[in-house]
Amino acid sequence: METIRAAFALARKDLVSWFRTPIHVLLSFAPILVIMLLLGIFYAGAETMPVAVVMEAPDDPVSRQFVDTVKDMRTAHFPWFDVVTEDAEEAEELFEASRVLGVIEVPDLSSGLQAGQDAVVRLRIANLNDDITKNFRQRVQEACLAFNERVQVQSSVRVYPAAQADFDTFLPADLPALAFFGAGLVALAIVMGSINNAATLVAREFEEKTYKELVLAPSTLSIVLGKWGSALVQTFISVALVWGLATVFCQFIPQGGLLPLLLLVLVGVVAFAGLGTLLGIYFKQVVPAAIAGMVFAIIGWWFGGMIWADVWPGALQGLIAALPTTYLIRAFTRAGLLGLYTTYWLDIGVLVLFGAIMGVLAYVLLKRKIAV
């Protein structure tokens, strides 16, 4: 009880100091917001593209096969194209109203290919210089290669072998990529906020030389718990902010109940705060601890299933499984976009185990490091 009371006092002190220091408040949010902005730019051309497909010969089975190939093109997490219409007239209207990114005009492939001629798929795109439209053109080219391979009319160069990989397709095909991105951003806010807040709170005590009075208190555990408590509150605030932005800009609307997500936020923040505490004690300085925290969070987020999981060779897939971020991202995106799923409690269990290990390590390291 004495330990809990001391931890509560420490958390309260940290939060009062935090609120009174605008630069510290800003530092809690700024890295996440900057990363959101950068990823927003990066992701700008990566979402599912609304397109129209117009077939010269709607009844031609080979042409239909091509359209199906276009519809099947996808990354691990989202489809490349959302074929809004196959009606020529409607396609024209939507294109004029800028409600589709482009129109894919498919020639009569059976007759052309049978005659031994190269078939030409024409694209109508609003602006060829735009990054998004360039990406659109590239995706259609990729669809052409995939089609060539499927119907075996000629050899093809596999530009993006990942597109052919046996990847994890847990998401429904019609899920917008942006919502997935939004859910991932909230998961990043949990990881990065938690690590950085805990790391800087602990490192600041060393940097400002206030740690001696703290570590001379009867219970060392109260320091770890107190720092976790204040990091928890700070991270909840930044997660709420990022969640709001993800809702507004990424249309991230949780599909299942809120409770599983809130439990994930709590477990995730506590689990990663342990790692943050560890970094703070190890580095004893705010800037290196924060940088280390950010590097871990971004790498963990990136490789832990958010973007590149599907392109990793099989041998390295084991590394993905070893990253704790993998479980949080998987849990948050699935629970957020699909509701409860089969391995939800397993993911929670892994995070709890990770948090417990980090907590014990932080406690042991604190005991060792305070000895000068």
Binding site: A6, K13, V16, K209, A217
Partner: protein
């Protein structure tokens, strides 16, 4: 039970054969001493003597390589938390939370150290009064002067009513007036709490401490009350202010004053001007030897302006014992 300054005191801390090394560097070598409950105990020595290392071991921030420390019969190994409850500590660098007010700093410490909620307010009030900071209770600590911060740090360390208060260089870097106020606060605690002070200010140890241990290069070179140390090691000190003494005179001081003085030191007197030096001679029975000292000095063609006979200070003791000079 031992008597210190007329008070009967039992041992509170026993340091037994403590050594501490950092790699090849031996910071403390076989240090043994006992601090008595209610006494003010000084750890005295120049920078690098091992004072802070010993203090860190006493408060459990460092572990001795050899030997052990017991607090009221308890060791850190067995009763770590119980010992911590008995300690108040003020670090060399005054470390307070700048964005909290004086009152909030004290209240946090009271909560963190488990002071019962019913007593917190009154203890904070008493601490503010003791530090003479009642009128600045709502001011953020970042607006405080060095002296105010130091006073606040000391009363903060007292708020959980520890039996032992450890102060690492309590008057380092603060003005004379603040120093005197802090010294008075510390003196008031004598008899109530065991106060352990590290310092390299001689007058501080002399003014505050019932007993002092003089450390040099990690060893205890003397341990007693300031008065006893001065009495045991020195008679009196004769000081002469000399203007431009010849090199030969300064080089031959040992021979010139053999049989008169037991030791001699020379230091520059920049405040008097270039060329001025102070010759200090440690003598027994100064009144009988003053004539010989004056004759020897004049006989060597050295002009002097002032002669001063004074009781020895701890500084003299330290120079006598280590050959080194401390700050004063």
């Amino acid at each position: 039970m031992d008597a210190v300054n007329g008070r009967e005191l039992s041992h509170s801390i026993v340091v037994d054969g403590v050594s501490r090394s950092f790699g090849k560097y031996l910071a403390l070598q076989d240090v043994s001493m006992e601090m008595k409950e209610g006494e003010a105990f000084g750890l005295l020595g120049p920078n690098g003597a091992g004072k802070t290392t010993l203090l860190n071991i006493l408060c459990g921030l460092s572990v001795p390589t050899e030997g052990k420390v017991t607090f009221f019969g308890m060791t850190y190994r067995d009763q770590h938390d119980d010992i911590r409850r008995l300690l108040g500590y003020v670090a060399q660098e005054t470390a307070l939370y700048d964005h909290l007010t004086a009152e909030e700093n004290l209240m946090f410490h009271a909560r963190f150290y488990g002071v019962p909620s019913t007593e917190r307010k009154s203890r904070v009030e008493k601490a503010l009064e003791l530090a003479q900071l009642q009128d600045r209770r709502k001011s953020k600590v970042k607006t405080f002067s060095g002296g105010m911060r130091r006073r606040l740090a000391i009363v903060r360390a007292l708020i959980h009513d520890p039996r032992v208060l450890m102060l690492d260089e309590p008057s380092l870097g603060i003005d004379v007036q603040s120093r005197m106020e802090i010294w008075d606060r510390i003196r008031e605690m004598r008899g109530e709490k065991t106060v352990i002070v590290t310092t390299n200010y001689m007058e501080e140890a002399d003014y505050l401490c019932d007993r002092v241990a003089i450390l040099d290069e990690g060893r205890v070179v003397a341990l007693d009350s300031p008065e006893a140390l001065k009495k045991a090691h020195l008679g009196e000190v004769v000081e002469l202010s000399l203007q431009d003494p010849p090199r030969a005179f300064l080089d031959g001081l040992g021979q010139l004053f053999a049989g008169v003085a037991e030791s001699q030191t020379v230091e520059e007197l920049p405040e008097k001007g270039p060329g001025w030096v102070k010759l200090s001679l440690r003598v027994r029975d100064a009144s009988s030897k003053l004539g010989a000292i004056v004759d020897t000095t004049r006989g060597n063609g050295v002009d002097f302006r002032e002669v001063n006979v004074r009781a020895p200070s701890l500084n003299d003791v330290f120079i006598e014992m280590t050959g080194k000079r401390l700050r004063h």
